[in-house]
């Protein structure tokens, strides 16, 4: 049973990757996630310069959902240089560097700084739902804005493939993906968190998150992820790889996202419920299912739903 995926020349030992925003602040974190079975790791969003996040409470959960408004804190490219440099000295699995900025121009500048650190992929976060007070509507909400960011990043990215991280909170994610593809995107990550949502404390009658609203994740968002991935795959005719992220907790969840069109599977919130070795567990569950079904190569599942429907 071959679980590995080779995408744009980069080989991942299995399809699971640490999703951006969870855990991945330091080189030692990425190493630990790799020890727990991940096929790849994604950094938390990196800014050109220092950026403060929101106050606590910034992450809250119940059994059904997690809301987060961490607010994308980061110490800037200089710290990223140290951490990615440390990671690259002893690199167990590929590293996807996720970047963020407040303007098209700064996306270009941040990308230029991070590309020098030789990540395997660049992932461009244009879809964070919890910094709208600071920066307005995310770039991922307009095809023109998303394409402009893609173009600016592609101009400086050289040989590093560029994945655009899209938002589910739009009318037509397929059209936005197509606009990015035309602007040169090499792939997509979908989805970012849903909403945003809100939770209120009954006695104090106050919103719990300091930012009032936060991005929704957890098992319940999986159907939205599946639908968005399927839309992107259709719109781009299955030609570009998709890192499918959203609600994955089990091997069967991961396989479902692959059938919708995902090549790699991002896992984040599930660490909180299944433990840090969720990567190992999901991989083993995928492997067991494939063995039972007589599937030899996991890559053949990517976009399986579309292929089946087209043949009917």
């Amino acid at each position: 049973m071959n679980l590995s995926q080779t995408i744009l020349g980069v080989t991942f030992r299995n399809p699971t990757v640490l999703a951006s925003g969870i855990w991945g602040i330091t080189a030692s974190s990425w190493q630990e996630v790799a020890r727990n079975g991940a096929g790849g790791v994604t950094t938390k969003s990196l800014w050109l310069k220092e950026h403060k996040g929101h106050k606590n409470p910034c992450i809250i959960s119940t059994e059904h959902w997690t809301l987060n408004a961490v607010g994308v804190p980061d110490a800037g490219v200089e710290k990223a240089k140290e951490e990615i440099g440390d990671y690259n000295k002893e690199k167990p699995v590929p590293l996807i560097a996720n970047i963020i900025a407040d303007s098209v121009e700064n996306y270009g500048k941040t990308a230029a700084g991070i590309v020098e650190l030789k990540p395997d992929f660049l992932e461009v976060n244009i879809s964070c739902p919890n910094v709208e007070d600071e920066f307005g509507r995310p770039f991922a909400c307009s095809a023109a804005d998303a394409a402009a960011v893609t173009k600016a990043v592609k101009k400086v990215s050289g040989k590093v493939p560029v994945f655009i991280k899209l938002s589910p909170n739009v009318e037509n994610i397929g059209a936005i993906a197509l606009a990015c593809a035309k602007a040169g995107a090499d792939g997509f990550t979908a989805i970012n968190t849903v909403g945003p949502g809100m939770a209120i404390d009954l006695r104090s009658r106050m919103p719990i998150l300091s930012n009032k609203v936060g991005g929704l994740s957890g098992p319940g968002i999986k159907p939205i992820a599946v639908k968005c991935i399927a839309d992107i795959y259709r719109a781009t005719e299955g030609k570009l790889p998709i890192i499918g992220t959203g609600g994955v907790h089990t091997g069967e969840d991961a396989l479902e996202l692959m059938l919708a069109g995902a090549t790699l599977i991002g896992i984040g919130t599930a660490i909180g419920t299944r433990g840090e070795d969720v990567f190992k567990k999901v991989t083993e569950e995928m492997s067991a299912w494939c063995k039972e079904e007589g599937i030899k190569n996991i890559a053949e599942l990517v976009g399986g739903m579309h292929k089946t429907m087209d043949n009917e």
């Binding site: 630990e32 409470p57 959960s61 961490v70 299944r274 840090e276």
Partner: protein
Amino acid sequence: MTTKNNIPLESRLPKTYRIKEIRRETAKVQTFTFDVSLGAQPGQFIMLWLPGVDEKPMSVAYDDEKGLKITFFAVGCMTEKLAQCKVGDLVGLRGPFGTHYEWKPRQRLALVAGGYGAAPMYFAARKASEDGCKLDVFVGARSAEHLLYIKELEDLRGATVHIATDDGSRGFRGYNVEVLKQQIEKGNSFDQIFACGPEMMIKAVSALSADYKIPSQLSLERYMKCGYGLCGNCVVDPLGIRLCKDGPVIKNDLCQKILEFGKYHRDDLGKKHEF
């Protein structure tokens, strides 16, 4: 679906409770009692939320069926606002999180508490005393007026309290770890050492514990956001473990593998700061 890290899912969302009782400990330290038990063990922490202000990790000063206590030092924006709260005001709690001190009945324990580390150490001392442990408690503070929980500790069965102050205004003049060292050199033997306090004090206990081959459990503090292993802010180098889940109380053999221990810690942006 299994929950590996034993953190009950209901503890991840804060809920507000009214302050039942306020006790002033020192000029800047107060103890709040809440009419709820979260089932915390000595050494564990909770996230304490002041609606509209901020949320911070706090060690639990006591928790049983009669209520939960936290003892805090008014030192920053949030704790200064907390210090102005009155009985009946609402404060959010979630938790408990992390590991706790562990002992066996009738063990001989050395408990080392620095500054407001005396509060969680009192919790451990009281529970260990109930288990028939013999305790030597080494309480340290800058000066006599900053000492906490002395009388409560002295009242525990089987407990001997040793006091150290930086300025010598009460007890030994110098560090509490020095007093512990003297006791060990006098021939006092201990099954375990527990420590809670400033990191440089913990560092000294860690070295002493290794030198004299006495197992120890040490409480480490790092910047916390979620408290249940998602945000990654409390990850330590080079192990990559999260102190909200694998800590705050860790055994010395693990502690000595943390290379940043006693050297640096990270802020909310992940930036390093030296001690």
